[in-house]
C-alpha cells in the first residue's frame, strides 16, 4: 500500500476508535454522578437547588472529556493535515 492509502485507512479507523472508546469513560462517570446526586436528593430534598447546580457543573466537566475525543475525530476526518499534505504531494506529481 502506498502512503496515501495508509494515511486514509489509519485516519478512518482511528477516528472511529477515538469516539467509540473515548465516550465509554465519560458515560460511566456521568451515570455514577447522577446516581449519587439522586441518592443525596432523596436524603435531603430541601438542598435540591445546590445539588442540582453542582450536578450540572460536574456533568459539564465530565462531558468535556467526550467532547475532546469528538473534536479529535472531527479533525481526523475533516481537517486532516497529513491527508492534505499527501494530497498536495500527489497533485504536484
Amino acid at each position: 500500500m502506498d502512503s496515501l492509502t495508509w494515511i486514509a485507512a489509519t485516519s478512518i479507523v482511528t477516528a472511529g476508535l477515538t469516539t467509540g472508546i473515548g465516550c465509554l469513560g465519560p458515560a460511566l462517570g456521568e451515570g455514577r454522578a447522577v446516581a449519587s446526586a439522586l441518592s443525596s436528593l432523596a436524603q435531603q430534598p430541601d438542598a435540591a437547588p445546590t445539588i442540582t447546580r453542582t450536578l450540572f457543573v460536574g456533568l459539564a466537566m465530565i462531558e468535556s472529556i467526550a467532547i475532546y475525543c469528538f473534536v479529535v475525530s472531527m479533525i481526523l476526518i475533516f481537517a486532516n493535515p497529513f491527508w492534505s499534505h499527501v494530497l498536495t504531494q500527489t497533485a504536484g506529481k
Binding site: 450540572f56 457543573v57 459539564a60 468535556s64 469528538f70 472531527m74
Partner: protein, 225 residues
C-alpha cells in the same frame, strides 16, 4: 462540510478578511448594546413594571445570586465581566433558532478569545484584591513543588474552557447539517432543541467556571481553612 463559520469569507481587502464569525459577532454586539440601552432608558419603580425591564431585572438578579453563591462577595464587582460572558454566550447560542444562523461560538477563535479573557482576568482580579506578593505566594502554597503544577493548571483549564464550548457548539451545528441531509423534517427539530439546551448549559458552565477561578484567586488563605 465546513468545520466552523471561519471558513466562509464575506469580504476581503488585502490581508484583512471579514468572515461570518466576525460579522455575526458584530451583529450580536450591536443587538445586545442597543437592546439593553433601549430597555434601561426609563427605569421605574412601581407596582407594574414594563416587561423588558422585568426580564432584565430577573436576569441581573439571577446572575448576582449565582456569583454570590460561588463565594465572590460583593458580587457587584465581578458582575460586569461574568454577566457579560453569560449574556453574550447565551444569546449567541440561543439565536440558533434563526434559520441560516451559525453561532460565533462554533468557531475556535471566539471561544479561545473568551477563554483568554478569563485567563487574563484571574490574575488581574487576584492582584487587585490581594496585592501582587500575596497573589504570587499563592502559587507556592502548600509547598514549592506545587509551583509547576499550578502554572500548568492555569493553562490547561483555559484550554479546556475554550475547547469545551467550541466542541459543544460545533457538534450541535454539524449534527444538524448531517441530519438535514439524511432524514426529513421532524428529527432535526428535536436535535435543534437539544442543541439549544446544551447551548444554555454551556453558557452557564462557562461563566460559573470563570467565577470559580476568580474566587480561587481572590479568596485569602484563611478563608479556605
Amino acid at each position: 462540510m465546513h468545520l466552523s463559520p471561519d471558513e466562509r469569507i464575506l469580504w476581503q481587502y488585502g490581508p484583512l478578511k471579514l468572515n461570518v464569525t466576525i460579522v455575526t459577532t458584530w451583529v450580536l454586539m450591536a443587538l445586545l448594546s442597543v437592546g439593553s440601552h433601549r430597555v434601561t432608558r426609563r427605569l421605574i419603580i412601581a407596582e407594574r413594571i414594563p416587561r423588558w425591564q422585568c426580564f432584565v431585572e430577573i436576569l441581573v438578579a439571577g446572575i448576582r445570586n449565582a456569583i454570590a453563591s460561588v463565594g465572590l462577595e460583593p458580587p457587584d464587582r465581578h458582575l460586569p465581566f461574568l454577566g457579560t460572558l453569560f449574556v453574550f454566550i447565551a444569546s449567541a447560542n440561543l439565536l440558533t433558532v434563526l434559520p441560516g444562523y451559525e453561532p460565533p461560538t462554533a468557531s475556535l477563535s471566539t471561544t479561545a478569545a473568551l477563554a483568554v479573557c478569563v485567563f487574563v482576568s484571574v490574575p488581574l482580579f487576584g492582584i487587585t484584591e490581594r496585592g501582587l506578593l500575596a497573589y504570587l505566594k499563592s502559587y507556592v502554597k502548600p509547598t514549592v513543588i506545587m509551583l509547576p503544577f499550578h502554572i500548568i493548571s492555569e493553562f490547561s483549564r483555559t484550554l479546556a474552557l475554550a475547547v469545551r464550548l467550541f466542541g459543544n457548539m460545533m457538534s450541535g451545528s454539524m449534527l444538524l447539517a448531517i441530519l438535514l441531509s439524511i432524514t426529513p423534517f421532524i428529527f432535526p427539530i428535536f436535535m435543534t432543541v437539544l442543541g439549544l439546551l446544551t447551548g444554555m448549559v454551556q453558557a452557564y458552565i462557562f461563566s460559573i467556571l470563570a467565577a470559580v477561578f476568580i474566587a480561587a484567586a481572590t479568596r485569602t488563605h484563611e478563608e479556605w481553612d
